[in-house]
Symmetry: none
Subunit: 417 residues, 2 copies
């Protein structure tokens, strides 16, 4: 079954607010087996609302509207819908009490604008908004449903979760939709598509595969549709198992994992610790690692050695090596990794040295040249990468590459590369 | 003049990706005087694309499409548009060279899927995508324009900024719109609006003021509309001068400046250097500073001292102080700032120590408690901040607060706070 979302608000069209409401609603509707067919973002304008609603109702039998329910003059959704459904406004005592309660809590005096929040269309079923003043409204017409909700994210989410989603589930009888994603790093979309072309061909018709790439990480999402939840789950799990066999070395996690989270899990399993010595990444690896709650259990710290003097003094890099090979070299990055591991007394270490750009490149070592090393009790491994010309992308891609190299090292996979 | 955006991608409808592309495009189109009438988010489905495009072209004469241009089977935008505009695909040598170049750079072999990226509709004007493989396409039909771009954000932004927005301005002869923004830090939107209420009242009708807040930094954007560019420019400059007189201590830059850029300018002016000692920010301050091209001129490096042992060993923090006051204290953060400055031989230093959360809080020092210190030849200054419960927001807000504290110190403004 399909639904549509209409997001009302000028702030969305001028880009002042990103439409995160619609994304969240899409996720939640999917979980109860409803697919979003289209999201239409429109302005607080009567004709525009009517046209968008007409279009959406031609395509689907469920339309969820957010926004335009505030007390001020530019909020016209309620009045437009009342007219659209040939209804009229009546005072709702339950809503009035909720408005009174909220105003008291926020120390705002009751006035005519606020009082009007309690007027609702006679034809609509009303859901009290316990987090705000504007209630949600449920209209029915020829077995089609239109629901209007406030645009304030936490009010909308509270209404959806506790009242609206259960009501939708009950009203419409819908099939089961299940998603499961795996995360890969270390190859490219076209290459992956080539490797997985046979896998794609053998997928049962109930299962679809999607590639979702974001700067180096490619998410592979399997979506299954059907009547019986258990059957679809089993089918998806079987296909995911196949993926683990076809591309084992690229998979680092599932669903909302990240390289830094998966490293955290690995290190905690082994009771190991980690530190970093960063030149071109400038602290971003340490930053990414410490975004993970509880990372203080395994992350000791870092030396950001931007100047060569710090590479020598704080990391023990040999000055003759620095002079002979240059800071961006296998020898220096390996000494950095070994130096910080010893000094910080950690099980593992990561080191980076490269030319992030835009300046500093030479013919031999162009902008985007990055050396990355990982060190541990099984020795030191290093690898050279050639990224692009964009400073920020070079920093981000070096960070991902470094995290992945460590992940492979900790898992004992580096020898097989 | 109005435009519409069609965002193509199942990942947007199931809420796996938030549609930040559309918001960014809305902002950029506004800057050249084009309002977005509707954003339609739809699936990678041929009929759906055709219907959405028909609808959009009924309402406006400019439609921007993103997504569905990848090399895999689920990407069908190019094929759909080729058919829609009664065209056929031809190999484009310039695009082919770009695809070859990108693949070589990424060490990926050319295959049939990649080769197809270089086939473009004969009827379209082509914009080479210098950040990726899929080019942008510009179609014209009865003085209406349809533009198709890749959905990868940095590829789309690069294409829009350098090639597509200028082409749109030229084709549709848009009015003169001039923007100038100043950036403030250290106060809140409501407070700033109160201070600037008189300023707003006296603005000439051609000039509009907008508040654009993002986590601590508030951008004040003045927009001028008119016929004569020189006149509007002069008017805007006059108003900006007034702002510098009304709120001098909050302004740290203009347009796309950032705290880290403005610190870089200040340090270069003074020929000074900087280093950091980070606990709760985990390297994010060093990372922010090193996002600025040329930061190696003044940034020496950092010690991320996540464990207390590193605070003692690498920064010389007194173990008795650590025991008595705890790591999150004025004494410890000041010793960290002094320690790293001495060791690294820098003119200035920044240090942070706090509880980012979600765990680790106590009644006395709840999650969100952060001490920040700056040190230099005029002594050490420190300040306590109480942020919120969200780990990522606490890390980001601590980073901004620390950068601003240093900026004020370097400018000699700290005594007046």
């Amino acid at each position: 079954m399909y639904a549509e979302i209409i997001s009302i608000g000028d702030e969305l069209l001028i880009g002042q607010t990103v439409n995160s409401n619609a994304a969240w609603m899409g996720q939640e509707l999917n979980k109860i087996g409803i697919e979003v067919y289209q999201i239409s973002t429109i302005s607080d304008d009567k004709n525009h609302i009517v046209n968008a609603l007409n279009d959406a109702l031609k395509r689907t039998k469920l339309v969820l509207i957010t926004g335009g329910l505030g007390p001020t003059r530019d909020d016209i959704t309620k009045y437009t819908l009342t007219e659209y459904f040939n209804s009229s406004l009546v005072r709702n005592e339950k809503v009035y009490k909720q408005v009174e309660k909220m105003l008291k809590k926020r120390s705002i005096p009751m006035n005519d604008l606020n009082r009007k929040q309690a007027d609702v269309p006679e034809r609509a079923s009303i859901f009290i908004n316990y987090a705000g003043t504007a209630p949600a409204m449920w209209f029915e017409l020829n077995r089609k449903v239109v629901i209007s909700m406030p645009g304030v994210p936490y009010e909308m989410k509270e209404l959806m979760t506790k009242q609206i989603l259960p009501s939708i589930s009950q009203y419409f009888k819908t099939p089961v939709i299940i998603h499961r994603s795996i995360l890969t790093y270390g190859t490219f979309e076209a290459k992956l598509a080539e490797i997985l072309s046979g896998f794609e061909d053998q997928l049962p018709p109930e299962i679809k595969l999607a590639y979702l790439p974001t700067e180096g990480v490619i998410k592979l999402r399997l979506t299954g549709r059907g009547d019986r939840e258990e059957r679809i789950k089993k089918m998806i799990n079987r296909e995911i198992d196949k993926l683990y066999k076809i591309i084992p070395k690229y998979i680092f996690g599932e669903q909302d994992d990240s390289l830094e989270k998966s490293i955290g899990v690995l290190l905690k399993e082994k009771g190991e610790t980690l530190c970093t010595a960063e030149s071109c990444t400038g602290g971003m690896i340490a930053h990414q690692i410490t975004t993970v709650p509880g990372s203080s259990e395994y992350f000791i710290g870092s030396v950001v050695a931007y100047s060569n003097r710090i590479k020598e003094k704080e990391l023990g890099v040999n000055s003759a090596t620095l002079e002979k090979e240059g800071a961006v070299s296998r020898q220096v990055v390996e000494q950095m990794a070994q130096g910080v591991r010893e000094r910080f007394g950690a099980g593992y270490s990561i080191a980076t040295s490269g030319i992030a750009g835009p300046a500093g490149g030479t013919t031999e070592k162009p902008v985007g040249t990055v050396w990355i090393a990982v060190a541990g009790k099984n020795g030191t491994y290093s690898r050279k990468y050639i990224f692009g010309n964009d400073r920020m992308r070079n920093i981000r891609r070096s960070t991902l590459a470094a995290l992945n190299l460590l992940r492979q090292y900790v898992k004992g996979e580096l020898e097989h590369l």
